[in-house]
Symmetry: C2
Subunit: 415 residues, 2 copies
C-alpha cells in the first residue's frame, strides 16, 4: 500500500465512528480544536515562519506570501471560525421527509455524511482548518492536500487538530494531511476511488480544471467565475454604475467579482461614460468592443476574442455593447462560467426573463454579483462555490456536505 | 465535428428552449408522444421484428430476447408509463426556500433541469421511451445510446418521439439516439464534457463499472446490488423466513434482490433449516460458511471468498453465521454495494443501531429489500437506483433529475 492508501484506509475506518457521533461530541471536539490552536499558537507561528522564509528564498510573489502568512490575529480569526461552525445546527441525522406508505412501511429520508472528502488546495493555511472543521461538523473524514509552500504550517495545524480529536474521544484519523506535496500525490488522490467519496479542489483556475478533467473520484467543481453585469435599456443608471463599480472593484481577485460589462445600445452613450468615471477611481483598465471604443474613445483597449473568456481577477474589465436582451443572454450563456450573473433594469418582464434564461448558480436583478457567498446567503459557513449542477450549486455550506439514506421501519412486509 | 458532437451541440441548443417550457407545453408533448406511439405501433413492431430476427440469428439467449421483444401489450404498457409521467407534478421552477436577508436582498432557490443527460443502456427498447420521457418532464434534453441488438427498435421509437416533440412546438433535438452502437461511441460519450451534464448507465454490472471508472462526464452510478438480510437473535423467525424467501425469490434478477443471508449464531440452529425449507420451494442453491454447513449438512455448497462479493441475480444465496451484530455490520459494510440492507429483529436497540450504522441507500427493519423502488417509495417514477452518495441516493425520480439556481431580487444592493 502507498502512504496515501494507508491514510485513506484509516480515514475510512475513522469515518464510521465520526458518522454516528452525536452533535455534542462533535462540538466538544471543535471546541477542543479551537482551544488547542490558541494554546499552541507558538508552534504554529514557528512552522509558518519557516514556510515564509523558504517562500521568500524561492521568490514567491507578495500576494502569495500574504496568503501564506499567519499571525496571532489570523490565528484568532481561524479560532473564531471554528467556534462559529460549532455553533451551527448539526446537519446530520435530520429526517427531511417521512411517510407511511399504503402497505404500512414507514419510509424516512435521513441526512448522513458523504464519507471521506479529499480537498486539494493551494498555499493557504487557513483553508486547512476551515475545510477540516466543516467536514468534521458534517460527519465527514477529510484528507487534506495543501500546497507545498505551506507544508510546515499545515503539518502543525493538522497535528494540533488530530491531537484535539483524540482527546475528545474521536479518531485522530478523521483529519489527515497528505505528506507528499508533489504533483504525483494530487494525481494519486484523483484516482483514490476506494477511499475518497468526493474531491473538492479549491484554488485557481488551473488547479480546478486539472482536477475536474483528470479525477476518477467524483468532483465538486468550484470557484471559476467569469461574471457579467448587463445594464439593460430601462436601468436606473446611477444604480447600475454603483453595482458595476462594486462588482468589479470591491475585491477583484475573488470569483464573484465581475469581469465583463454588457450595455444595451439604447443607453450605451449615456451610461458608458458614467461607468468609466466610476471605474477610473480604481484605475480599471477597460477592454472594449468597437462600439464601446466609438463612445469612450481610443483610451479603451480593443477587446480580443480571448477577453470574453478571461477571468482577470484584477482591475481590468471587458465591455461590450449589445443590441438587445437576447444578445446579452446568448453572450452570457456562451461566455459565462455558470457562477453569478446580474442584470440592472426596471423592466419587470426583462428581469423575469433574465432570471429564467440565464444558466448560472446565482442570477441577480439589481444587485452586485459579489453577494454570492455562503455567509451572505445565510448558510453560516462555506466550503466553496459550486459551478456544477450535480449535487450542489452555488455556495456550499454544511448541508451540501451531506448525503441521505432511506430508513424503513417495517412490520414484516414482503412484496 | 464528430456525429456525436453534432448531436450534443443540437441537444444543448434544444435544452435551452425545453428548460423554460411550461408544464402545460411539456405535458402536451408527452401526450403527443403517447398518441404517436399507439398510432404508429405497426412501424415499431416491424422494426422490432427485424431486431428479433437478427437476435435469434446471432444466438441471443432467451432472457435477452425476452427483454428485446415488443408486442402490442408492451407498447400499451409504455404508453401508460408516458401518461403516468405526464400526470406527475412538474419538478421544475419550484422555489424550495426563499428568504429576505437583513440587507433587503430576497434570495430564493429554484429547481432547474440538469441540462443534457446521457443514458447508456443495454438492449431494452422500453428504456428508450421511459428514460426519454422522464428527462423531458424534468426539462432535460437526452442523448440515448442503447445496445446494438435493439437499434432498429430504438430508432423507430426515437423518431416517433422527435416528431411528436416538433408537432408540439418543442425542438426535436430534445431527444436523440446515438447512431453508432460500437464500443467507441460509448467511450466518446464518456468524454463529451462539453455537451453532457450527466451520464447515467443503466444495465449490468460490467457496463456500470466501465462507465463509472472511465467517464469524465459526471456519472450517477446505479443499480449494482449485493443486498443482505441479517436475522438477529431476537427475530420473529417465521417473519424472517418469509422476508428471506421474498427478498431472494420474488424476482432474483433485479438489483434489490438479496444475495446473502447472515444469521446470528444464537438462532442459527433453529432458523437455518426453516430458511432452507422456504428456499427449497424455488430450488435455491445455498453456498454456506463452515458453520452453516455444520448445521445444514453437506448439501450446502461451501462458500468461497468470491461468493461474498457476488451479485448472483439468480436462485443462489450465500449464507453465513455471525457471532454478533458487530460482525454483521462489519460484514455488510465491507461486502455490500450500498444498495439495500435489512435486519429482522424485535430488539429495539439493535434495530436502531442497524439503521444508524449500515452505510447504504436503503436500510430496512423487518421488511424485504425488494421495496427499494421509485414507485414503492412514492416517487411516482424511477430512472434508476443510485448507489453513490453525491447528488442522489436510492431510487431516483423526477426530482433527482433537477438542479437548482439561486434567484436574487435586489434593489441596488452593493457589498
Amino acid at each position: 500500500m502507498t502512504a496515501l492508501q494507508v491514510q485513506g484506509k484509516a480515514a475510512r475506518q475513522a469515518e464510521r465512528t465520526l458518522a454516528v457521533a452525536s452533535a455534542a461530541v462533535k462540538n466538544q471536539a471543535l471546541e477542543a480544536i479551537a482551544r488547542a490552536l490558541l494554546d499552541r499558537q507558538e508552534d504554529i507561528l514557528a512552522a509558518n515562519a519557516q514556510d515564509m522564509e523558504d517562500g521568500r528564498a524561492n521568490g514567491l510573489s507578495e500576494a502569495l506570501l500574504d496568503r501564506l502568512a499567519l499571525s496571532p490575529q489570523r490565528i484568532e480569526g481561524m479560532v473564531e471560525g471554528v467556534r462559529q461552525v460549532a455553533a451551527l445546527p448539526d446537519p446530520i441525522g435530520q429526517v427531511k421527509h417521512m411517510e407511511r406508505r399504503p402497505n404500512g412501511l414507514i419510509i424516512g429520508k435521513r441526512t448522513v455524511p458523504l464519507g471521506v472528502i479529499g480537498i486539494i488546495y493551494e498555499a493557504r493555511p487557513n483553508v486547512t482548518v476551515d475545510a477540516a472543521v466543516l467536514c468534521l461538523k458534517s460527519g465527514n473524514a477529510v484528507i487534506l492536500r495543501g500546497g507545498k509552500e505551506a507544508f510546515r504550517s499545515n503539518q502543525a495545524l493538522t497535528e494540533i487538530m488530530r491531537q484535539a480529536l483524540e482527546e475528545s474521544g474521536l479518531p485522530r484519523d478523521c483529519v489527515a494531511l497528505v505528506q507528499d506535496t508533489s504533483r504525483q500525490s494530487a494525481q494519486e488522490m484523483m484516482a483514490l476511488t476506494e477511499y475518497l467519496d468526493v474531491l473538492i479542489p479549491r484554488g485557481g483556475r488551473g488547479l480546478i480544471r486539472s482536477v475536474t478533467e483528470n479525477a476518477r473520484v467524483p468532483v465538486i467543481r468550484t470557484g471559476e467565475g467569469i461574471c457579467h453585469i448587463y445594464v439593460q435599456a430601462q436601468a436606473d443608471l446611477q444604480m447600475a454604475a454603483e453595482i458595476v463599480y462594486n462588482a468589479k472593484c470591491s475585491r477583484p481577485s475573488v470569483c464573484n467579482a465581475a469581469e465583463c460589462l454588457l450595455v444595451h445600445q439604447g443607453v450605451a452613450e449615456q451610461f458608458l461614460p458614467m461607468a468609466q468615471a466610476f471605474l477610473q477611481g480604481k484605475h480599471v483598465e477597460l477592454r472594449g468592443c468597437p462600439r464601446t471604443r466609438e463612445i469612450l474613445g481610443p483610451s479603451v483597449v480593443p477587446a480580443t476574442a480571448e477577453d470574453w473568456d478571461t477571468e482577470y481577477g484584477d482591475y481590468i474589465m471587458a465591455v461590450k455593447v449589445v443590441n438587445d436582451t437576447q444578445e446579452a443572454l446568448d453572450f452570457i450563456n456562451r461566455h459565462g462560467t455558470g457562477h453569478s450573473e446580474a442584470i440592472v433594469t426596471n423592466n419587470y418582464r426583462v428581469a423575469q426573463r433574465f432570471l429564467d434564461e440565464v444558466d448560472a448558480a446565482a442570477v441577480y436583478v439589481n444587485a452586485s454579483t459579489r453577494f454570492t457567498d455562503g455567509f451572505e446567503f445565510g448558510l453560516g459557513a462555506e466550503i466553496g462555490i459550486s459551478t456544477q449542477k450535480m449535487h450542489a450549486r452555488g455556495p456550499m455550506g454544511l448541508e451540501e456536505l451531506t448525503s441521505t439514506k432511506y430508513i424503513i421501519y417495517g412490520s414484516g412486509q414482503v412484496r
